[in-house]
Symmetry: C2
Subunit: 217 residues, 2 copies
DNA sequence: TAGATTGTTAATCGATTAACAATC
DNA sequence: TAGATTGTTAATCGATTAACAATC
């Protein structure tokens, strides 16, 4: 279980949520092909992922849902949970905060940061907002290793530098600009413009194909 | 230029925005290693991407920024642009709409949909909101091939079905649940919970390594 | 020319899938 | 047993990178 493929990590996160739903519906066992159908992937891939995390069952009645959830938790979750900060609490920051609140108990959003005096020291979407000037202090006091970056594009570079300097270990970058971090800081780029342009590209391809039944006219 | 790798498409989208910035700063030519540094990738990868899109330069003073931007536009953009709908105009939907407005002129958000009577027929984040009941009618009238799905998780499955039925060709799924679409519909899953759990996982790994300088203590 | 740069093939790496043995 | 299912190796596919020829 040393080093799991990145794609497997992603799928485990998705599997877990599906499995939690199954459990809520009273389903205690699930076949690999059932998991596969729910995610539009193949049963082989599901079985391989499950093999990689070291789970196996002697029964032929599918996997034990509870056991799988627990095992995925052992892999993904930190034992004491992990604190998260939202940096930049504008439209997007607020939406994401609201979106996460209470969802994943092991990942707690414990602070927001902004430069707007109107927001500082207030509770926004259930999270206390601090001044960007107190970044380092709060991050240390509250032991926050993960930051969600939702500042305006022009601030992304400087703020991410400040985050790294303040001891942040992982950044989830929602801004549409690339940020630079040292190699010991985990960086995940989550570029919404790219994802939309990508869909648009493939849609364009399809529309082009279909012998002129085209929106492009 | 038949079929470009998916990863190349993603990078082209990012390159273009960087190149537009360069142009705004008056930079007319750019080396492959400059592009690479801005994106934390290798110059070889940049050159290969550029090779794949069929651009090349005889000069040794870098690529012509304007020409590259135009060429990327030819590949990614539809000649007449592409209309986009935001389906579910809650926190996240509004944030995304505000985020996109005016950014990419070739991808226009032309309609929002919701079930909340308070929202229907009002203009929200600059976009007219329609009833979810009028999905098919508006999508056809306005010729909207792409939908951004930001409804609450429990509605995702049904609404995506309705979108497909209404003739949508591409869905950008921001909900944290998998949706099922026929193979001729482009689907891009954009799971925020997964991306955060992924960062948390890799941060956990790092913290575990560093001989007990750990937040988990 | 020497150095910097581009363009491109071949090798490598990582992820998915095909094939199939094993088991209930 | 036959059929369904799991577990796992090997083959394949896709993406990145190494290596290097060509050019200014």
């Amino acid at each position: 279980m040393k080093s799991l493929p990145e794609k497997t990590i992603e799928r485990l996160s998705v599997y877990r949520r599906t499995l939690l739903n199954c459990l809520a519906e009273g389903k205690e066992y699930i076949y690999s092909h059932e998991i596969a159908n729910l995610h539009n992937i193949t049963a082989v891939q599901v079985r391989r992922d499950i093999m990689l995390i070291g789970y196996s069952t002697t029964l032929k009645k599918g996997y034990n849902v509870r056991a799988l959830i627990e095992l995925i938790g052992d892999i993904l979750d930190s034992p004491r949970g992990l604190n998260v900060a939202v940096v930049g609490i504008g439209n997007l920051g607020r939406a994401i905060t609201a979106y996460f609140r209470g969802k994943r108990s092991r990942l707690q959003i414990v602070a927001a940061f902004d430069t707007d005096p109107e927001k500082i020291n207030r509770v926004i979407s259930g999270v206390k907002c601090y001044s960007m000037n107190d970044l380092q202090q709060i991050i240390n006091e509250k032991q926050i290793p993960v930051a969600i970056l939702t500042v305006p594009p022009d601030y992304a570079a400087k703020v991410s530098e400040a985050l790294v300097y303040s001891g942040i270990k992982g950044i989830l970058n929602y801004t549409s600009v690339p940020v630079n971090v040292p190699s010991d800081v985990v960086l995940e780029n989550y570029d919404m413009i790219t994802s939309l342009e990508k869909v648009a590209y493939y849609v364009k391809q399809k529309l082009g194909d279909n012998s002129k039944v085209s929106y492009e006219e």
